[in-house]
């Protein structure tokens, strides 16, 4: 149905998680989807199922040795000393049963989202399980085993020769895995806005990382100061992203919508609120219509306050993807079901109250530094895009 949005999900996608006290908890997907449902945002939108990615899909960007290692790990058939060489079996990326199947499903979900949009079966699509942007060619990293965006981009390049894809990553962490996979490729523009690597994992994403060879200028990085608030994040985005995407001229926008820049996120040091998570998808949506006939695929990503932040941020994302109004109140049904299970008090409103998030003492200084960084990107990186 042309013009309609697709939500690509099935419950099997919720098997990607590391168990126990691990911060990457697939319960956040359940909380999000049930909030969407209870808000009435899924009424006309049945979930679209997807097939797991094949070994052939995965090896477009991963080494076969690594894929075999993940498969063996999930069967309990690999030695821990060998696994560690591939980033597996560490505190961040512990092995879990059938991990290959779970990870390949996530990749398949994002790949299917992209294909739906490229076929014209949907104007926009969302797969919130995706966004595992740290995974490297032969290494799991930062809770990410397979790189869904990397595989989807590589496959689309095969299926649509000459396609130009803009990858826009607003997770609080640098989108390093995707950046390195396409660092020399002028047909893939990667833009990452993130907390500076001086303060946070993975420690990269400086302005001077701008691509190599033919791809010089096609990796755009905007490192933000810790404690950056909504206003400064939005100003930075608006300074850099529209100009970068207009210069590039994409055929598809793939966005990574990690919501860990929120003030409540336990893993990062940024100070955003739900206002950012309404603004970003709306802005990307407008750019998709302006530049590429609306072709836009949105994924999830980081987000570790799974009770108060993730469900609301990604419900806002889905509302933007599906052109629906975002209601004001959290439905009673949802609160009733989850209140008792949540270790923290749950918000009553879909949007944060700005009064709960007063400006920090150094806000002007922080915003000024971010403005200078954005200007540096405008001067030194964007002119290289042809």
């Amino acid at each position: 149905v042309t013009g309609k949005a697709a939500i690509v999900h099935d419950n099997a996608l919720e098997s990607y998680g590391f168990g126990g006290e691990h911060p990457f908890n697939p319960l956040r997907l359940r909380l999000t989807l049930e909030l969407c449902r209870d808000l009435g945002l899924l009424d006309s939108y049945p979930q679209t199922p997807s097939e797991p990615a094949t070994d052939g899909d995965l090896t477009t960007v991963h080494s076969l040795t690594y894929v075999r290692m993940v498969q063996a790990a999930g069967r309990g058939a690999a030695r821990i000393s060998r696994l560690l060489d591939y980033g597996l079996g560490s505190g961040d990326n512990p092995v879990f049963p059938d991990m290959h199947e779970a990870c390949a499903r996530v990749v398949g979900g994002v790949l299917e989202s992209c294909r739906l949009v490229m076929r014209g079966d949907a104007a926009h699509a969302m797969c919130v399980s995706g966004g595992l942007h740290h995974a490297m060619r032969s290494r799991a990293s930062g809770f990410c085993v397979y790189n869904d965006a990397g595989v989807a981009i590589a496959r689309l390049k095969e299926e649509h020769p000459g396609i130009r894809i803009a990858y826009v990553d607003t997770d609080a962490h640098h989108g390093d895995g995707v950046q390195w996979m396409f660092f020399e490729d002028p047909d893939v523009l990667t833009v990452s806005i993130h907390e500076s690597g001086r303060y946070i994992f993975p420690g990269r994403g400086e302005v001077h990382e701008k691509g190599r060879g033919e791809g010089k200028g096609y990796s755009v990085n905007v490192p933000l100061q810790p404690y950056t608030d909504d206003d400064s994040f939005i100003a930075t985005f608006e300074t850099v992203v529209p100009e970068a995407l207009r210069a590039f001229g994409p055929d598809l926008i793939l966005s990574q919508n990690g919501c860990d820049a929120h003030k409540l996120d336990p893993l990062t040091h940024l100070s955003a609120t739900t206002r950012l998570y309404e603004h970003l998808p709306a802005a990307i949506h407008d750019l998709a219509h302006e530049l590429c006939e609306g072709r836009w695929v949105a994924t999830g990503g980081g987000g570790y306050d799974i009770w108060r932040v993730v469900p609301r941020a990604w419900s806002a994302l889905w509302a933007a993807v599906s052109h629906q109004q975002l209601p004001k109140e959290i439905p009673e049904d949802w609160l009733e079901k989850w209140e008792a299970k949540s270790p923290v008090g749950l918000p009553r409103l879909v949007r944060d109250d700005p009064a709960d998030y007063p400006a920090g003492p150094r806000q002007a200084e922080i915003s000024d530094k971010n403005r200078r960084t954005a200007e540096e990107v405008i001067e030194k990186v964007l002119p290289l895009i042809r």
């Binding site: 911060p23 560690l84 560490s90 505190g91 961040d92 001086r198 994992f201 993975p202 420690g203 893993l267």
Partner: protein, 212 residues
């Protein structure tokens, strides 16, 4: 590991004292280098930088430039007192020599033979590798009392969490603070907050990451 021989360039472009400034500058341009050792009968007799050569010749646009480039000899402008390094010197010794002498390059001698050259860029590169700054990781800054065993204590707690340490360096705290050192760890985890909590519980002061 971390010796001059691990970082130095082994193919060295050299000059003779009789070469002209013009030839020498052309070599700098072609090979994108700034320092050229000068050999006479196989022995190191001097070193010359592109800056030495430029300041010894008239600027671009000056009509006397072409003549000077053909006339000035390397032997006239080179530094004759050369600070050198040996292949098995620690890289930090070489770095300190460059810092103290305010120079950017050391020819590397094995006996009397020139076997390499090490520059401040090479030192910078080894610093990046030393700190693991090219690998994914999170930075942690922990105050450790200047006493035996405290660094091992911190490292042990991090290890028990299954977190790999990519690199560690320690340095003195600012003047005026109690005698202690700051250990900067680069750890292979996206979630150093957890480790920070464990360390604080064990009595260490964590300067970064901040606790929620």
């Amino acid at each position: 590991m971390l010796q001059v021989k691990d970082s130095m360039a082994r193919e060295v472009t050299t000059l003779s004292p009789g070469d002209t400034a013009g030839d020498a500058l052309a070599l700098c341009r072609e090979r994108r280098i700034r320092h050229l050792p000068v050999l006479e009968d196989g022995s190191l007799v001097g070193i010359v930088s592109d800056r030495d050569l430029r300041s010894a010749t008239p600027a671009f646009g000056d009509s006397a430039r072409a003549a000077a480039l053909a006339e000035v000899r390397v032997g006239d402008v080179m530094a004759r007192e050369v600070v050198t390094a040996r292949p098995d010197d620690p890289i930090d010794t070489a770095a300190n020599a460059m810092r103290e002498e305010r120079i950017n390059c050391l020819p590397v001698l094995e006996g009397d033979d020139l076997v390499g050259i090490v520059t401040s860029s090479d030192v910078m590169e080894s610093l990046v590798y030393l700190l693991g700054a090219h690998e994914p990781g999170s930075r942690m800054e922990i105050v450790v009392p200047d006493r035996p065993g405290t660094l091992a204590g911190v490292a042990g707690l991090i290890g028990e969490l299954g977190v790999n340490i990519v690199s560690v360096v320690t340095g003195p705290r600012q003047v005026g603070e109690p005698p202690s050192r700051v250990a900067v760890f680069r750890v292979d985890t996206i979630n150093p907050t957890h480790a920070a909590g464990v360390l604080e519980k064990a009595g260490y002061t964590v300067l970064w990451p901040p606790r929620p």
